[in-house]
């Protein structure tokens, strides 16, 4: 027992150093090496343990390798025949047993963690239930207890566990928020997967689709927004409130006829495609065009919300090749501008 403790004590500073080194890698809202929630932290813990053991293995092999290469290289004119060794039972037992021990050290916490992370929160009254449905190439988030459906941006309270029920409406996708939790595939045809995570720190986290799902697979991003519980209440109320149509009747008419045939705002429109309620408050348009103030534009994919909406409605195919919105409607320039303006102002006041 004493020995084991000493081993852990020796390992601890190494692991701490490793954690420091690795957490320098990547953005806080995206990197699995910089976990922001308990699930990702548990997974990162397992990673650190694995990396530490593996670093040990790599160092031993490299050391022997370098020594052998230098020490036993053939000198010029050396024609001696080295001793022919058949093997060594002692050595062979050593390099069988040590890996087995290392694997036990890794295997036990792995199994513990497998069962720990498979806990089912779907019947826990404290957990927020969310049904995640993936589509080519967007994410639908439904809160069955609250009667809310939204898309592309998962708003969650920072003090509760989120119980996910994941499925797909078409091909297999995979739901991944690296900074909060590892991924789970979304399978078609009622083959539902469950997972959970939580995000105690308020903030926006980047989510990705991690299973090849077609041309725009790499563009199928989403966001997770963790807010305090009061904000979450306000968000829920705002999402359930009715929404007014555009004030300009011509724009309102175009919006109702063209957009609401597929999309929904408030209690109007169809349920099959992304719900647009509160789109003006979202971090991005179509998951990939990030909304920023006009002065803060730094990258190609960033623009003001109005410009992003305009770009998207004008030519969605140029933003996300192969998406289902391309070529589904005919809008005049004025209508596009009007709708983009209306949507950009369709905000929810909750933060």
């Amino acid at each position: 027992m004493m020995k084991r403790w000493q081993f852990v004590k020796r390992l601890a500073p190494l692991m701490a150093m490793l954690a420091l080194l690795l957490s320098a890698c990547g953005r806080e809202d995206l990197s699995a090496l910089n976990p922001q929630g308990p699930v990702a932290e548990e997974q990162f813990g397992l990673m650190k343990l694995a990396i530490t053991i593996m670093a040990f293995v790599v160092i031993v092999v490299f050391a022997i390798c370098v020594y052998v290469i230098i020490r036993f290289r053939r000198r010029k004119g050396d024609n001696s025949i080295p001793k022919q060794v058949e093997g060594s039972h002692k050595l062979e037992i050593i390099w069988t047993v040590i890996p087995v021990i290392l694997l036990i050290i890794l295997g036990v916490p792995t199994v513990q963690s497998v069962f720990n992370l498979s806990k089912d929160y779907s019947n826990d009254p404290e957990a927020v239930k969310v049904i995640v449905t993936s589509h080519q190439y967007w994410w639908e988030f439904e809160y069955p207890e609250l009667g809310i459906k939204t898309s592309q941006e998962l708003v969650i309270p920072n003090n509760r566990v989120v119980a996910i029920e994941a499925k797909s409406a078409d091909v297999i996708h995979s739901f991944w928020i690296p900074a909060l939790a590892g991924k789970i595939d979304t399978n078609p045809a009622g083959n539902v997967n469950r997972m959970y995570f939580s995000a105690p720190k308020e903030g926006v986290y980047l989510g990705k689709c991690a299973e090849l799902c077609g041309p725009s697979h790499g563009l199928m991003d989403f966001k997770v927004k963790s807010v305090d519980s009061a904000s979450f209440e306000r968000w829920t109320a705002a999402m359930q409130a009715p929404v007014a149509l555009p004030s300009d009747p011509a724009i309102a008419d175009a919006f109702e006829k063209k957009c609401l045939a597929c999309h929904a705002v408030g209690d109007m429109g169809g349920p099959a495609f992304p719900n647009l309620t509160g789109i003006g408050s979202r971090e991005s348009v179509a998951g990939i065009l990030v909304n920023v103030e006009a002065d803060d534009i730094k990258y190609k994919h960033e623009d003001t919300i109005y410009n992003n909406l305009y770009k998207w409605i004008k030519n969605p195919e140029a933003i996300k090749p192969g998406n289902e919105m391309s070529n589904q409607y005919d809008l005049t320039e004025e209508e596009i501008q009007g709708i983009a303006k209306y949507l950009s102002e369709l905000t929810l006041d909750f933060e």
């Binding site: 990547g26 953005r27 990702a40 694995a50 050396d78 295997g107």
Partner: protein, 633 residues
């Protein structure tokens, strides 16, 4: 047919192109595999370079999203099935019969058939580029994305039929090597005296025998889904998408061991030879190889940890996967201790082999990391996985193939590759490889999923992707340097000695380079492990023959395997286009059907001819053998 038993003096020996189309000689088939596999390696490599150019900067528009998916699909499929496997078959064909003291493989005709079906399957797959309808659902072709609903063009049809035809070649090739190694070993060559490469080829062939039928079944089912409207994998009609994942990986995981075990074998030979030392722990190496092959069948679901199999399956497959690290570790340490106390000569071949060890260890340890299911939820389908499998496949397999090619080149072609250029090539390729893939571990952990066409700016991915692209270009330059070396070697005369490395240990180094058509004028008598080394150490210059010189029976060349492969190619192409090209002269059959039927007729007629023509082969007479041996008796 009474005369058929007489020595067939009417020797059917072709020359020129007909010689290559009809050959059943394992050495020539090995060269054919090398040329075809090398060609597809260049195609797959070009695809890789295009992928890396697309990713060299954020939101690049070098290729379209569609083309990008076609590139990644074809890169993976081509490299695994049409480059790596054939290149291994090239070395196995060129070397295995020589290592066991045999005159040919057990079924020379089948050997040739295996090559031609592989080649025509591979060509069919790549015709898709010419037609412009390219597979784009990934090399794994997960349903329902690979179904007709989401992949409406003929792309995935090419994948299904091309791989099915190429797979026939691999399967019968594997069976052939199993039978060859069991039945055709020289007197005294017991199983526990077989060279390590032969052992590896033996286990690999057994894996092929059990793994490829799973692929055959999966592809047949997917073909039914796509061509005949069946619904094995179509969830909307009651099929199951996860079923395809299982079938694919039940084949797919053993496949990675099918690829790596021969590389292990090559490394064992090269390291032992250039350390002038017997392979350390030979029997544990054999045992470890068998164990890896065995465990390789019980870990497929570690490719599916995120599919939602539940905690019990995930836990079991985690542990089973970790177990593979033990026999693999045994092999690594055995190689290190083979070199320990040896006299290591760093030829180009040995540079590749020694470079393999640390590289493969890095790929191996990330494999163990991936085995921990909860952590895999983070790694899965990210660039971490891309880095991992390129470390084992390129850092393991491709370095192994390069080592093997440099090592056995003189035995295959009678010429030694240029050592200086070979070493430069190694460093170019090796550094390029690590530049390309090392950083990808971190990209994955930092949140970059694999198979993405573009990544956004400002996510911290830019620099590492650029490094990766630079590395890929270096690997491309390395490959071109190797080609220059090959071309230069053919400008030189065939002057390689029997044992050009002077430290050869196994039977292939006891015969001329390149080996004569009949390999061994007299079947050698094997008296121990490292048969040739043993004779050398006892002061003899060659093997003790196990038989007197006499006429040698040889199989006849035949064009039929070529025709069978060609027929399958035509049939696959025709049936794919059955719905597209209208009806044939007003019959219910379409033009596509007719083309398909013609193709099948060619294949079946060839099979019929093979069955009815009684061919007893021919003999190479004593006089010719003596002449080859330089007149001495």
């Amino acid at each position: 047919m009474a005369h058929a038993h007489a020595h067939g003096h009417a020797v059917k020996r072709y020359s020129g192109i007909m010689d290559w189309l009809t050959t059943v000689d394992h050495k020539k088939i090995g060269i054919l595999y090398l040329i075809a596999g090398g060609f597809f390696f260049l195609v797959g490599g070009l695809e890789a370079i295009l992928i890396r150019v697309q990713l060299w900067q954020p939101q690049n528009d070098f290729v379209s999203a569609n083309t990008y998916n076609e590139l990644i699909t074809m890169h993976g499929t081509t490299m695994i099935f049409l480059a790596a496997m054939p290149l291994l078959f090239a070395l196995m064909n060129a070397v295995i019969p020589l290592q066991i003291g045999a005159r040919d493989v057990a079924f020379p005709f089948v050997n040739s058939l295996g090559f031609w079906t592989f080649l025509f399957g591979g060509l069919l797959l790549n015709v898709s580029w010419i037609v412009g309808s390219v597979p784009d659902a990934g090399w794994t072709s997960y349903a329902p994305l690979a179904g007709t609903t989401y992949s409406g063009n003929h792309g995935v049809d090419y994948y299904v039929l091309g791989l099915q035809i190429a797979g026939i070649g691999t399967l019968i090739g594997g069976i052939n090597f199993l039978v060859t190694i069991i039945n055709m070993r020289a007197p005294g060559m017991t199983f526990m005296r077989m060279p390590m490469f032969t052992w590896a080829a033996f286990i690999t062939s057994a894996l092929i025998l059990f793994a490829f039928p799973a692929l055959t079944v999966g592809l047949a089912a997917l073909m039914f889904d796509r061509l005949f409207g069946a619904n094995f994998f179509d969830p909307s009609a009651g099929g199951n998408a996860v079923l395809w994942e299982h079938i694919f990986w039940i084949f797919g995981h053993p496949e990675v061991y099918i690829l790596i075990l021969p590389a292990f074998g090559i490394i064992s030979e090269v390291i032992s030879t250039f350390s002038r030392k017997r392979l350390f722990g030979y029997s544990s190496m054999v045992f470890a190889t068998i164990l890896i092959g065995f465990l390789g069948f019980m870990v497929w679901a570690h490719h599916m940890f995120t599919t939602g199999l539940g905690p019990i399956a995930n836990a079991l497959f985690s542990i089973a996967t970790m177990l593979i690290a033990v026999p693999t570790g045994i092999k690594i340490f055995n190689w290190l201790f083979t070199m320990w106390g040896g006299s290591i000569k760093f030829t180009a071949a040995n540079l590749y082999a020694v470079g393999f060890i640390p590289t493969f260890v890095m790929g191996g340890v990330t494999g163990v990391m991936l085995a921990a299911a909860p952590a895999d939820f983070q790694y899965h389908d990210s660039y971490f996985v891309v880095a991992h499998f390129h470390y084992v496949i390129v850092g393991g397999l491709v370095l192994g193939i390069f080592a093997g090619l440099h090592y056995w080149w003189p035995k295959m072609f009678g010429r030694v590759l240029n050592e200086t250029l070979g070493k430069l090539t190694f460093w170019m390729f090796f550094i390029g490889f690590h530049l390309t893939f090392f950083v990808q571990h971190f990209l994955g952990l930092m949140g970059m999923p694999r198979r993405i066409w573009q990544y956004l700016d400002g996510l911290g991915f830019n620099e590492m992707n650029m490094i990766s692209t630079v590395g890929a270009i270096m690997m491309g330059i390395g490959t071109i340097m190797f080609l220059i070396n090959v071309a230069a070697s053919f400008a030189k005369p065939k002057t390689a000695a029997f044992d050009p490395w002077e430290d050869g240990r196994t039977l292939e180094w006891t015969i001329p380079s390149p080996a004569p058509e009949y390999n061994f004028a007299q079947t050698p008598l094997v008296r121990g492990y490292d048969a040739y080394w043993k004779e050398k150490m006892e002061g003899r210059s060659g093997m003790t023959p196990a038989e007197p010189i006499g006429p040698i029976h040889m199989p006849s060349p035949s064009i039929l395997p070529f025709c069978m492969g060609l027929g399958l190619f035509i049939a696959g192409f025709g049936f794919m286009y059955a719905p597209d090209w209208g009806h044939f002269l007003g019959t219910p059959l379409t033009m596509g059907h007719m083309i398909g039927i013609v193709g099948l007729l060619i294949t079946f007629t060839s099979m019929l001819l093979r069955s009815v023509i009684d061919d007893h082969g021919f003999h190479i007479e004593e006089a010719e053998i003596l002449k080859d041996m330089g007149g001495k008796a």
